[in-house]
């Protein structure tokens, strides 16, 4: 299946992926208008230090510890994509405890935040990939 892959050699550390991610979940048309004045809660996050940077988002594991550990059944694996039912999630953070990549984020909005490959948005390609100016984030099949 297609996944989001990151090449840290090409990452500029510009954080645009975070903004595009936050924009994707608004379902608005204009990014500047959608994000103006709000604190973004992206599902992809850039780690950076000493000139190295890279973006981290859900790996959509074949054996997802977050799904197996989820106490409510809010996290499920549907056609290879780890999805979250925001209505069911009660923010116990068991998935935060389980995810080896730190790719599920705590949130005060009543449900944890995680990448769903933009399948709930209008975008066919994940917005972080579309928005990356240097192809450091790609969406492709690599036989995993």
């Amino acid at each position: 299946m297609k996944r989001v892959y990151v090449n840290e050699n090409w990452c500029l550390g510009c954080h645009l992926c975070e903004y595009y991610c936050a924009f994707a979940s608004t379902n608005e048309k204009d990014m500047a208008r959608a994000l103006k004045g709000i604190k973004i809660s992206p599902r992809i996050r850039v780690e950076e230090m000493d000139g190295i940077s890279f973006a981290v988002s859900c790996r959509h594991c074949n054996e997802p510890l977050c799904v197996k550990g989820c106490i409510t059944g809010a996290l499920t694996r549907v056609d290879g994509i780890i999805m979250i039912d925001k209505d069911k999630c009660i923010s116990c953070y068991t998935c935060v405890l389980c995810c080896p990549y730190g790719a599920v984020s705590p949130s005060e909005d009543g449900a944890v935040l995680k990448c769903e490959l933009c399948i709930k948005t209008y975008s066919r390609t994940p917005m972080c990939v579309k928005g990356c100016p240097n192809e450091a984030i790609v969406f492709e099949e690599r036989g995993e």
């Binding site: 996944r3 197996k68 116990c92 953070y93 935060v96 405890l97 080896p100 705590p106």
Partner: protein, 415 residues
């Protein structure tokens, strides 16, 4: 092939989902002594708090049994196993034969013997949906509630009923709250937080006698109450296996394939004791993620695969009155410690590996620490100083990151 599963919670679901990956045809019979579609037990406190409802508490959707072709038998209690005939005998006299059997019977609240307890009319426990409903019915405005036990169950119960205009007191033998998962300083933080949220704590005390609606403590204190909740702990339900001659200790003893000592009988979840790889000791680790993964492991082996689950560690994620706590592993070895009064972090390490951790407040990316314990990652392969301060993938080698984020197989990477 006929699979019988005694129990209808996380371990049972793990088993069903695993069996159906390998065997689409075999019969699966699930037997429960409750009368509910599979629901998440830890959510009963959120139910009382109004953060979820019975519909959303369903651990799997309404079609779960149909889609997985399971026969569900509710309100039925297993009494004993006939391991020669390979049958489960039920209290109502029925019997169910099996080719492969899974014991996923969970645990039951332990009620300590206290003088006068038999005269307390309004006593409740807090582990099942029926428990939660009964407790909810017993509460009225200004009820005085006494919770015995300041552990995970007792404190989640306290939080669950805290919005109901009731007075809550909580007593524990230990001088700590959450003594099973917190160290002294972490416990102090949570203690203050509970007191700030109007929970009256009576620690390092015990009840010597109940007199009608008054609990008499060892130091002479008298606590009047309307409703009593017993939450001192749970005991694994082991009798089916024990009475049939299977090996048990505190829990049912299983190997890393989740097999009991009885042929074709498996066990998973809170009724079991298994190896905690962070301490090397066999333990009852009554946690939902372990229950699911043990159930899954049992289901794989029951349906003919060879599957091992040897990554169990104690671990907990719990929120109380808005404060989050995540802990895992064993608290031994050297200590890394940082706190700013609000957030608290302690990491325990020795012999080049992480043994355990406690996070209070800022719990983001805790799973990176959990993975270090679970995978016994050699600490000299990463930037340990950095990962102590900031859990992240930055602390790993570029090669490791290439595997984690780039889908690159290690031999193809030139670092």
């Amino acid at each position: 092939m006929k699979y019988v599963i005694i129990g209808n919670s996380a371990a049972a679901v793990g088993a069903v989902e695993a069996i159906r990956k390998n065997d689409k045809e075999g019969r699966i019979v699930i037997v429960s002594n409750e009368n509910y579609h599979v629901y998440s037990r830890p959510l009963i406190s959120y139910l009382l708090l109004g953060k979820t409802n019975e519909e959303k508490m369903k651990y799997r959707n309404d079609d779960f049994y149909r889609e997985n072709r399971c026969e569900l038998k509710l309100n039925k209690t297993a009494q004993r196993l006939d391991i020669k005939q390979k049958q489960v005998i039920f209290e109502d006299g029925d019997a169910e034969s099996y080719d492969k059997l899974l014991i996923a019977t969970g645990s039951s609240p332990f009620i300590p013997p206290v003088q006068g307890l038999d005269k307390v009319k309004s006593m409740y426990t807090f582990t099942t949906l029926d428990d939660a409903k009964a407790l909810d019915n017993a509460l009225s405005e200004n009820s005085k509630v006494l919770i015995v036990g300041a552990g995970l169950i007792g404190l989640k119960c306290a939080e669950g009923i805290s919005k109901k205009k009731v007075e809550i007191s909580c007593i524990d033998l230990s001088y700590k709250v959450l003594s099973s998962i917190l160290d002294d300083e972490g416990s102090e933080i949570i203690k203050r937080h509970l007191q700030d949220n109007k929970i009256r704590l009576y620690l390092k005390r015990h009840i010597i006698e109940f007199k009608e609606n008054i609990a008499m403590l060892d130091d002479g204190t008298e606590i009047p109450f309307d409703v009593l909740v017993m939450a001192v702990g749970v005991r694994p339900n082991i009798s089916l296996v024990k009475d049939a001659g299977g090996r048990t200790n505190r829990g049912i003893i299983i190997d890393e394939r989740c097999q009991t000592s009885i042929p074709d009988v498996y066990a998973a979840g809170d009724c079991c004791e298994s190896m905690d790889i962070s301490s090397g000791e066999a333990k009852v680790m009554a946690l939902l993620p372990n229950a699911y993964m043990q159930g899954e492991c049992a289901g794989m082996n029951m349906s003919g695969l060879d599957f091992v689950f040897d990554k169990a560690i104690p671990m907990n994620a719990i929120g109380l009155f808005g404060k989050h706590i995540i802990t895992a592993g064993t608290y031994s070895g050297d200590v890394y410690f940082e706190t700013d009064g609000k957030n608290y972090k302690k990491l325990f390490y020795s012999d080049n590996k992480l043994n355990g951790f406690i996070l209070i407040g800022d719990v983001a990316k805790a799973g990176i620490y959990t993975a270090l314990i679970r995978e016994k990652t050699p600490l000299d392969t990463l930037n340990f100083e950095l990962i102590c301060k900031t859990p992240g993938l930055m602390a790993f080698s570029k090669r490791a990151r290439g595997e984690m984020l780039g889908g690159i197989k290690s031999e193809a990477v030139s670092s």
